[in-house]
């Protein structure tokens, strides 16, 4: 059977209407008011789908215009020259920078966010937990450009100490070697992104931990478990999928974050072995910084890179949704 009959057959969340008269009313087909209202609400649902489809179609169309004239390999070229003929641009550096900075952000933010969520649900004094949770809620609403401004003017100067220390003790690894340049590097970006996504991950994780079954926790306590053992055995197994989906939401934000990266990073088109030396770039940052000088062709090229970002975030969010499919109420999409 096709979708439309299914929809019109849908009954309201009430007991099954018994008489034919009621059935007709429930279908919303008899009265013009019902028909109009159903049409309007279904129409807006369909409009949402159309918008998503349109995003994919139009980005692909403009991207194809740029890609057909690209003389470099879109995936492996280490430059972004859209104003020369023939133009040559590739996303290798951007993909590397986006992935690396997001991974750094996740590595820092997820454990801390889980710890704070546990703190708020299981450790903090009651009187403290409420207001703190409230403040964390508010912090999740601070605009990213403010984080960007703070990161560029306050965080960057404060990174010198950490970078010097990392260079002294771990410089031999190569990953943490530092040539004393301004600390506007992928590591700083990762740290700033971690700070930005911390409130979101904390919020969603806290909601999940709060719903851990009280009975099991009390049972564990009654058997003599310490608080940590209760958390390890009753709370974390229960909240694992919720924490994963919260992290994915945070990852989605980190991948697509534009302004905070654009203000903090000093970009170039090379992949550096060291995380501490400035350079590199991310998809979103590259779009924001290259946009003002871009010609129409340049804009199409930027749209092509945006399409890649779009696909990546779709995959991440799709994965997050799959993980939480069994526990729908924790999707956290409204956080």
């Amino acid at each position: 059977m096709d979708t439309s009959t299914q929809i019109t057959d849908a009954s309201p969340p009430t007991p099954e209407p018994s008489t034919a008269e009621q059935k007709r009313n429930a279908r919303g087909a008899t009265r013009p008011g019902d028909r109009i209202f159903l049409g309007l609400s279904r129409g807006s649902g369909i409009l949402l789908l159309v918008i998503m489809a349109a995003i994919a179609v139009f980005l692909t169309y403009r991207a194809s215009l740029a890609l057909s004239k690209n003389h470099g390999n879109f995936l492996t070229t280490f430059e972004w020259n859209t104003n020369i003929t023939p133009p040559s641009f590739g996303i290798a550096v951007l993909a590397y920078g986006t992935v690396v900075s997001s991974i750094i952000a996740m590595v820092i933010a997820v454990p801390v966010a889980v710890a704070i969520a546990l703190f708020l649900t299981h450790y903090a004094p009651r009187r403290l937990a409420g207001p703190i949770a409230y403040v964390v809620d508010l912090l999740a609403a601070v605009p990213s450009i403010v984080y960007g401004l703070w990161g560029a003017l306050i965080l960057v100067p404060h990174m010198n100490g950490l970078f010097g220390w990392l260079n002294d003790f771990f410089g031999w690894t190569g990953v943490f070697s530092w040539d004393q340049g301004a600390p506007r590097s992928l590591l700083t970006v990762g740290i700033l992104l971690a700070i930005m996504i911390l409130p979101i991950i904390t919020n969603v994780s806290r909601e999940v931990f709060r719903q851990a079954p009280q009975m099991i926790e009390e049972a564990a306590l009654a058997l003599g478990a310490t608080r940590w053992e209760v958390i390890r055995m009753a709370v974390i197994p229960f909240g694992r999928s919720g924490v994963i989906s919260a992290s994915m939401l945070g990852l989605g934000r980190a991948l697509g974050e534009t302004m905070a990266v654009a203000t903090v990073l000093s970009p170039d088109f090379l992949i550096h072995g060291s995380l501490l030396n400035p350079g590199g770039g991310t998809f979103a940052q590259n779009i924001a910084s290259k946009f003002s000088e871009a010609t129409e062709f340049g804009r199409d090229a930027l749209i092509a890179s945006g399409l890649v970002l779009f696909v990546i975030t779709l995959l991440v969010n799709g994965a997050a949704r799959m993980i939480i499919a069994r526990r729908k109420e924790y999707s956290g999409a409204n956080a």
């Binding site: 789908l49 995003i55 601070v142 924001a288």
Partner: protein, 350 residues
């Protein structure tokens, strides 16, 4: 014999030995004192003092607790310590962010700043203001809300009141996916349309991108609120012979209007701070442009970015002041929204 010895050592045989309640504080004070002494002696920075005292605290806690209370209790205490440390460490940047914005923002934030544009002021000069940015922000966000709020609420009504089949599933799925669309991608989408129709930047283009970002947020929060409306209310209304559409308009929506308003306001707060789409589509303007349908406009977040990019102290001052205005706006929206939510919460006994 050994039993007697244990009974003598421990006041109650049912409980193991416990550290006194004040012991975490004592250990914390001790480790901070040692760290300060070591740090001052070796000439380390304050951050390093903090790190040393944190480490000392964890090690000392574990050692002492393991000795007195046993390994399991020690592990519990060390996790407690770690959780507290994580919380305190995370507070530092967040407090610093708010504190810096307030302290540096109030420097130039006054009535003059709020009521003048940058029209006659170069970025390198003092003076100027954000009037044009406020006008732009209000218009763009207002238009975005006018588009997104009805569509979002109607979609939520569809999902909760009508949706059953595959279409509803698809809408639910794509609403979730849409929540994760990066703001810059929404901007690029409208940009691709503008390139096709050969249009120049204008305020309403930004509104459309912001509306795309706002819709899924409104749908999700409205959905949650509609689900909270007790089914008995719907049933009572339908049983009286009220048509479904009137039931929704007169019973379901009024019951949940507080929560829906809250959701919309939180969504507004979220899009008001979006910079990336505005940067691509509205472009920025030094002058006052009251017309969102023609010519570039300014907006608050974009103003912050451009003043930061100007890169001198006067511009930084203006950027901080504009940030403070933006944060204040967002926070007030949040607080009012939560106030409404509490005041008009549907009485479901939850």
């Amino acid at each position: 014999m050994s039993n007697a010895a244990i009974a003598e050592k421990r006041p109650s045989t049912l409980r193991g030995a416990r550290l006194p309640k004040w012991s975490p504080w004592a250990i914390a004070a001790g480790s901070v004192a040692v760290a300060v002494a070591v740090g001052a002696g070796a000439g380390l920075t304050k951050v390093q003092w903090g790190l040393i005292s944190g480490l000392l605290f964890l090690v000392a806690t574990y050692g002492i607790a393991a000795k007195v209370e046993g390994r399991r209790q020690a592990k519990d205490r060390i996790v407690t310590g770690l959780v507290w440390v994580a919380f305190l460490v995370a507070l530092v940047p967040l407090i610093s962010l708010v504190w810096t914005t307030v302290v540096r923002g109030v420097k130039v934030l006054d009535i003059y700043f709020l009521s003048h544009s940058m029209g006659l002021v170069a970025d390198s000069q003092p003076g100027g203001g954000i009037y044009h940015a406020i006008i732009g922000s209000v218009e763009q966000v207002g238009l975005a809300t006018l588009i997104a709020a009805p569509i979002g609420v109607l979609t939520a009504i569809y999902l909760v009141e009508y949706g059953r089949g595959r279409l509803a599933q698809a809408v639910t799925f794509f609403v979730d996916v849409m929540t994760g669309v990066p703001s810059i991608v929404a901007g690029l989408f409208i940009l691709s349309l503008m390139l096709i129709f050969d249009m120049q930047p204008f305020g309403f283009a930004g509104s459309m991108a912001l509306a795309i970002l706002m819709m899924p947020v409104v749908v999700r929060s409205t959905e949650e609120m509609l689900k909270l409306v007790p089914n008995e209310l719907r049933e009572a209304s339908l049983a009286l012979g009220v048509p479904k559409w009137r039931t929704i308009l007169k019973v379901v929506l009024p019951t949940s209007i507080g929560g829906i308003t809250t959701g919309i306001m939180l969504a507004i707060a979220r899009i008001a701070g979006e910079t990336a789409p505005v940067l691509l589509l509205v472009f920025g303007n030094r002058f006052i442009n009251n017309n969102p349908f023609s010519g570039p406009q300014q907006s608050l977040p974009l103003y912050v970015y451009q003043q930061y990019a100007a890169g001198n102290d006067y511009a930084y001052d203006r950027a901080w002041a504009a940030s403070l205005t933006l944060i204040a706006f967002v926070m007030i929206l949040n607080l009012v929204a939560r106030g409404i939510a509490r005041w008009k919460a549907p009485k479901t006994g939850r």
